[in-house]
Amino acid sequence: MSSHAILQKCLNGERLSDVFIVDIHAHLDFWKDSFRIKVDIESIVADMNTIGIDVVCLNKWNCPDIKSANEDVAGVMKKYPDKVVGFAATAFSLGWEDTRKELERCFDDLGFRGIKVHEGYDRVYLRDHVDLPEYKKAVEAVWEFAAERKCPALCHGLLTPEVAKSYPEAVFILAHAGGSRAEAWKYADCKNVYFDTASSLTLRGNIEYLVKLVGVERILFGTDQPYANPAYRLGQVVSARLDDEQLKKILGENAARILHIR
């Protein structure tokens, strides 16, 4: 392939069948404000097939309880074992012991490979409560689990550079990092922090900036589908002025390495 063959295929709307692609950031539910045009697993798989996304990392968190949400993800993992990797959602109001138990259940019984941490679970923004002892202990239980299992924790909020440095065995993914240069800069010297590209604010030049800042090996393609159009998010990444070898790393090779797939 020429140095911009991936971009050319995307501009023509061709399936990227010769590039291994992992979507590190996707959901099995919808965002409260978003449209409900495409929300089910069949729509997600259809879009993956159109574009050529091989693996999607799914989590679900908008639901009455976190355990049944994780079971829903486990259900689609069974249906599409080669396409779906489960990321366990956490609800810190379970308390630290049950938070850990739920992660153990997800990893040991249901076959999950990652954790999704969101400051907005439990219908409260944890950043406002994270210093309360009961929450703090539950959040720490997640970091400890990620370090023990050496598994990726996809973090929307709650992660700090100090946390990342305190758990060097864990693999942290800063969600939506492609959208904020300032946020990415704070984590530049945390070698165990990766950066996902799932953001509507990924401005022209942001991906190239990230590559210069932290190196291409720490950037992961993410879409935030089904809220966001995966083709649009793919376009943000492949439009970066990078060569195909760099794009392949971002699109899938880096994720394959931290997920231990392929």
């Binding site: 449209f35 809220y227 439009s239």
Partner: protein
């Protein structure tokens, strides 16, 4: 297939990298890289400082560049910030301007408020010439509600004026626009902000491809991402062609001198 970008800017501007100046040459390089044929261009100076100076600078910067078409930023003429609408439109037509653009709700762009009374004269002149009128709203939800209510009045009062809503992106704005798209056939939507999943297909299904217009938001966003989203969208090649450039070309051809 002709790709005609309805939303590109050159010149000095705030963000994404403060102080970075994007020239017409930069824009043409971007267009070549992503295979975009033509662009409607406005100037950052007109958006963020002075209408007249910015529009004049635009004409200098894109002179002899036939792929770039002038789009003047316009607004209130009270306080002598612009020529009165009749003179403005005469000047625009003489200079080969293809469209005008109005920004509402942003302190970065003249703190303009959409208000039928204040803009009546301008919209009347624009309608008389069927001049493509691109309208962009700032994101704030509260302001949006006010602007959309005023937009209703403009659409009612000037039913032959083609209005292109530039880059609607937040969910609330899109939801508010659905009933307006259904009611007003002269209302168009530029697609650079449509990152919601399935939205492009849903708009085509509900209102037809002839109501959507390709745009990139250069220099903030890459020229490639919307083109790629359009390429993968589940609509027919004819519909893609209309969105990519056919619709905008038709609106420009419809200008009456």
């Amino acid at each position: 297939m002709l790709y005609f970008d309805a939303n590109a800017m050159i010149g000095a501007h705030f963000g994404p990298r403060e102080g970075k100046f994007f020239t017409a040459t930069d824009l043409l390089e971007e267009m070549d890289f992503f295979g975009i044929d033509e662009a409607l261009v406005y100037h950052g100076l007109a958006r963020e400082y002075d209408f007249v100076l910015g529009n004049q600078q635009l004409m200098v910067d894109i002179a002899k560049l036939p792929r770039l078409h002038p789009c003047w930023v316009v607004g209130f003429h009270y306080g002598r910030t612009m020529p009165p609408p009749k003179a403005l439109l005469e000047d625009a037509l003489q200079n080969g301007v293809k469209a005008v653009r109005l920004f509402f709700g942003s302190h970065l762009s003249h703190s303009m408020v959409l208000d039928l009374v204040s803009h009546q004269e301008l919209f009347r002149e624009l309608e008389k010439h069927r001049f493509p009128t691109i309208v962009e709203f700032e994101d704030s939800t509260q302001l949006l509600a006010e602007h959309i209510l005023q937009l209703d009045k403009v659409l009612e009062a000037f039913s032959s004026l083609p209005i292109i809503l530039s880059a609607p992106k937040v969910w609330t704005e899109l939801k508010l626009l659905y009933p307006r798209m259904a009611k007003h056939p002269q209302l168009y939507m530029e697609i650079s902000g449509l990152h919601g999943n399935g939205v492009m297909e849903d708009l085509v299904k509900n209102f037809g491809a002839q109501r959507l217009i390709f745009g990139t938001r250069f220099p903030w966003f890459s020229g490639g991402q919307v083109k790629i989203a359009l390429a993968y969208s589940n609509i027919s090649p004819e519909e893609k062609e209309a969105i990519a450039g056919g619709n905008l070309s038709k609106l420009i051809r419809g200008v009456q001198r």
